[in-house]
């Protein structure tokens, strides 16, 4: 099968699994809305736009973490990943398939999170949507690679946040900057740069992470 064909098959597998079991996305939706409510109580009433936007991005980060921890759980439980690695497909097809799946989950969560944010805090502009879209690519690309690493270790729910958070600090900067300043273009360009660099790195190195 062609590379693209492999990718689509793998992505479809993840999405179908999720559709049938419905355990990850509803949890992410509920988590992000609860977090936004908690943040309302954590912020003073005269909180600045930057503070409110910042907390939205924190909520999105942790929701992404939730989804990513689940991304490789099934694989590990049933050793599907070993089987996939033995299959005659390019290993990075596994990565890209997973990335598409993770992005689908993230978008589903954001479809609920952004209106909730607009309702609870402040209106959502096009810059925020663009920033979220770009950030999703980076979060999924880096997160999938790191989740594969963490899945091979012992305390993987603890390990993944530790690996993930330092790497995604630039995404938070880009995201908050794009939605809270007068010059979103610069921050969106920076998000694009981050996506380009880390997506290429993750693509190239996934093979080494899952094989001996």
């Amino acid at each position: 099968m062609t590379f693209l064909g492999d990718v689509l098959v793998l992505a479809r597998k993840d999405l179908l699994l999720e559709l049938r079991s419905r355990d990850t996305v509803p949890a992410m939706l509920l988590f992000v809305v609860s977090t936004l409510v908690v943040f309302h109580f954590a912020l003073p009433s005269d909180a600045s736009a930057t503070a409110q936007t910042g907390l939205l991005w924190v909520a999105l980060l942790f929701t992404a973490l939730l989804g990513l921890v689940r991304a490789f759980v099934a694989e590990r439980e049933e050793r599907i990943l070993d089987g996939l690695v033995l299959a005659p497909c390019d290993r990075s097809a596994i990565w890209l398939g997973k990335v598409i799946g993770v992005m689908a989950f993230l978008v589903a969560a954001e479809v609920v999170a952004l209106p909730a944010y607009a309702l609870f805090f402040r209106p959502v502009g096009w810059e925020l949507v663009a920033a979220v879209a770009l950030a999703d690519v980076g979060l999924a690309a880096v997160g999938t690679l790191l989740a594969a690493m963490a899945a091979a270790g012992r305390a993987r729910e603890l390990l993944l946040p530790l690996l993930f958070l330092p790497l995604v600090i630039p995404i938070v900067v880009g995201g908050v900057g794009a939605s809270a300043t007068d010059d979103p273009g610069r921050y969106l360009a920076f998000l694009g740069l981050y996506d380009a660099v880390f997506a290429i790195l993750s693509w190239a190195s996934f093979e080494y992470v899952v094989t001996e």
């Binding site: 091979a152 690996l163 900057g177």
Partner: protein, 230 residues
């Protein structure tokens, strides 16, 4: 590698480090004149910046060894990359501590978010500390070596991107940007003192690196020996 050759290397590095750092400290305290604006406290610069540069060098060295591992699959590069990260973290902690002391004496606070170098080192410290968490939670073997190598490579990619992010974040959060009043051009005596300290620090890192690597290799050999005997 022939052990006697490695021992010589170690002795040379340690001796070089000792002499250079002794000389550098003497120069920094006795010979170099006071900086015009900052005054006496600017002398921290002669250790703080070489330590920071040495930390960057260690991380770069770790990434190079990581690349060699992924290229050639030779196991020895795993230990070398690991040791380099270890040294980088030690010097990173030293950078943070000396930077914090310098911040305290310059601006009155033990921590300033406006100092780009400090914030960058904090992010890098968190990143490379997670490296150790990764190593401890995965079974030893080629898989762990590969993962550590990939992670070390991500680290050096993170350095410039993080720096850009921190610069962009300044416009966001509007902290007062703190830079030390180090003149853009160092005078002759300042440059000499700085270079002596820099090469001294690099030799110190190199000497510690060779020591640590020997220790780790011995550990591995002993483990093999124990398994062979039992």
């Amino acid at each position: 590698m022939n052990t006697s050759l490695r021992n010589n290397q170690n002795v040379v590095l340690a001796a070089a480090a000792g002499c250079l750092l002794l000389a550098g400290t003497a120069l920094a305290f006795y010979w170099v004149p006071n900086a015009p604006i900052e005054g006496f406290r600017q002398r921290i610069f002669y250790f703080h910046v070489p330590i920071a540069l040495t930390a960057y060098a260690c991380f770069g060295w770790a990434a190079w060894k990581a690349l060699r591992l992924l290229w050639t699959r030779e196991r020895r590069y795993d230990l070398e990359s690991y040791t380099a990260v270890h040294m980088g973290v030690i010097f990173g902690i030293l950078t943070l501590v000396t930077g914090s002391i310098w911040a305290r004496t310059s601006w009155g606070h033990w921590w300033v978010w406006g100092s780009r170098q400090l914030v960058l080192f904090l992010v890098l410290f968190l990143f490379y500390a997670a490296y150790f968490m990764l190593r401890y939670s995965v079974e030893p073997g080629p898989r762990r070596a590969n993962m550590s190598a990939v992670y070390a490579l991500f680290g050096v990619a993170l350095i410039p991107i993080s720096f850009l992010a921190i610069r962009l974040a300044e416009d966001l959060v509007h902290p007062v940007v703190f830079t030390h009043d180090v003149q853009s051009k160092l005078t002759g005596s300042q440059l000499l003192t700085f270079l002596v300290c820099l090469v001294g620090m690099l030799s110190l890192a190199g000497s510690l690196y060779v020591n640590e690597l020997t220790g780790k290799r011995l550990d591995a050999r002993l483990r093999e020996l124990r398994e062979a005997l039992q």
